[in-house]
Subunit: 375 residues, 2 copies
């Protein structure tokens, strides 16, 4: 197996399945549980990489689909790889592009070979297959690369999901075969199986055989109802090896993160914190807050008095409101930086809580403040 990634569990919470761990890559180590900011197009939107790092980010995610179309992974390779291209010297994870091409709907066609699709930019025709996805990710040089899997539609029949899942396993074999840089890049497999426990078990059995350096639980992120999400998470992490990092893709709200961590998940990513920042929404220790609210017009206090980020150390709510209302770019820059720091700080607190066997207490405390929940 690849020596490019090591994972150790440092402490297990006494009362839940939450675990604190450390992933070590050639670009540095990552304390888990970890939230990974998304830099879709080789940039975390509206932030310099130094600012991303200042938030405590340990690893970022970039998107294969977008980068293969523009600028093209050959250009990134010629530039010396994604780390150098975008000036980010810590670990990077790339997705497989699968999620994006399956989202194209009528503009894509699935065969055993892979997915033919028309670019969302200019309609040009492309093919994404296990081999091509891995080739692109090899070009990008990310530390963690993801297997090319099929994300079955939400309304798919059990029969469809069975077939799709079997194909995902065949595609995983082809990904492993195609992967050129096992010394420097670590390939994660992805469990599928929809909301069928037996299919999840079968999927896990098949992908675990390959003894990969890490595994993701696919098909339960964006737009899932929380009950459905939790239903799968109640058993899915246990189907994966204890000693490998577990990753749930596309989650970035505190509750989904807490529910995942509680069930033994180590990694998550989402565009949510930076996307809502661009719409003037801040995540704070007292819950979400819309900076355009008139009550902040003469509020000269910080965005979140409990936050230690650049934005909160430096600017007032009144100034941030002014920037947002004027459509000033600095508003996006400052709120993005704050929201990333908020989630990073939350994960720091989660890790400390696990270390001290009080994850449940910290979760309850956090929810009572963030969601105003009576406990």
């Amino acid at each position: 197996m690849s020596k490019a990634l090591e994972f150790e569990i440092l402490h297990k919470d006494a009362k839940t399945k939450a675990r604190k761990g450390r992933i070590t890559t050639l670009h540095g180590s990552i304390e888990t549980p970890v939230f990974m900011p998304v830099g879709t197009q080789a940039t975390v939107k509206a932030m310099k990489p130094e600012s991303v790092e200042d938030t405590g980010a340990q690893i970022i995610l970039a998107n294969t689909y977008h980068l293969m179309l523009r600028p093209g992974s050959d250009i990134v390779r010629e530039a010396g790889g994604l780390h150098k291209f975008m000036n980010w010297n810590k670990p990077i994870l790339t997705d497989s592009g699968g999620y994006q091409v399956f989202s194209l709907g009528a503009m894509r066609k699935i065969t055993e070979e892979g997915v033919r699709f028309a670019s969302h930019i200019d309609g040009s025709r492309h093919m994404l297959s296990p081999e091509r996805s891995i080739e692109v990710q090899n070009d990008l040089g990310s530390d963690i690369i993801m297997a090319f899997d099929e994300c079955a539609p939400k309304d798919a029949s059990r029969e469809y999901i069975e077939r799709s899942q079997a194909r995902t396993t065949r595609w995983l074999e082809r990904c492993i075969e195609a992967h050129r840089n096992t010394d420097t890049q670590s390939l994660f497999g992805i469990m599928q199986g929809g909301f069928y426990k037996d299919l999840r078990e079968e999927s896990a059995r098949e992908i675990v055989k390959f003894d990969l350096p890490g595994y993701a639980i696919g098909g339960i992120s964006v737009g899932e109802k929380k009950e459905e999400f939790v239903e799968v998470l109640d058993y899915a992490p246990d189907l994966l090896p204890e000693d490998k990092p577990r990753y749930v893709m596309g989650i970035g709200t505190p509750d989904y993160i807490f529910e995942s961590v509680e069930r033994g998940v180590d990694m998550f990513d989402c565009v949510e914190p930076t996307r809502i920042a661009r719409h003037g929404m801040a995540m704070t220790s007292e819950g979400r807050l819309s900076i355009k609210n008139a009550r902040f017009e003469r509020d000269f206090g910080p965005l979140d008095p409990k936050c230690d980020c650049y934005t909160c150390r430096t600017y007032s709510r009144a100034y941030l409101r002014h920037l947002f209302k004027e459509g000033e770019t600095l508003s996006q820059m400052l709120l993005s930086e704050h929201n990333l720091r908020f989630l990073s700080h939350m994960c720091e607190n989660i890790r400390t809580a696990i270390d001290e066997d009080r994850f449940t207490e910290y979760k309850r405390d956090f929810y009572s403040r963030y969601y105003n929940e009576e406990t």
Copy 2:
């Protein structure tokens, strides 16, 4: 007179009227000739103030018209003034708002009292007068404030300009009368008179009587043909006191700056460098360059090999092109930072050249590279 501003001439070029000097304010000193970046709405667009400072900026300009409408100068005053509100601890200059309200055309009405106008944002009715302009600027707390003058239309008759200029002098008296913070803020007068030398002389005579800490040459900036601009500049600076800083408003292209410096001007401002940056245009030692050009697709060298800015130290043209084509905000951030550094660096070189009595040689050398001029 105000002790809030001192000006000393450190060296005069042996062959031209160019002079190197130093303005000292309560927020620090400014080496002249100086280019002042514009932060219209209490932010230099798409830049953190630390990045603005990193470019070598010594003073920035903010706009009275915009800030009086939003967030309102009372809010900025309550926040502790503009420096604190926007986190900029070096000198700030504010304009009078005159230029903007006169540009409103049919939406404004000029009387002896001042200008009634409808806001460009919501049509709400406002009044800007000498007293109101100074009140707003006193609220903002900028180090240098500008007199409220009338900018006569370009096609105005000589008769109109005569009347307008006489009114500008009366308005200046009212500005001086209204100015509350003479201990901390320095009021500059503005010479008018269009393209009539005798009217310029009259205007200068009248405003110089007030022994103000500095003077601007009005009405010859944006959109002026270079010959007309230079025609006025050939005599106008000499009509102002030698021992006071001279300011030409709204110029930001290298040639207009060089022509002004050569004729004894010390200060200039313009949105140009940051505005063109947002459109993918970079100012470089070899002239202007459009980053979207296809020839940069695989150009892994810096934007300008002779530049020492963050952008040029850190990123490739290929990456900057990618960001711009994708509409990524980081493109605006990085090109704005570069362009401001370019002009700041150019002014540093101008000051050194003056010091060494070789302004003319430096100008010729700069033009030959930037404008590809045969010399």
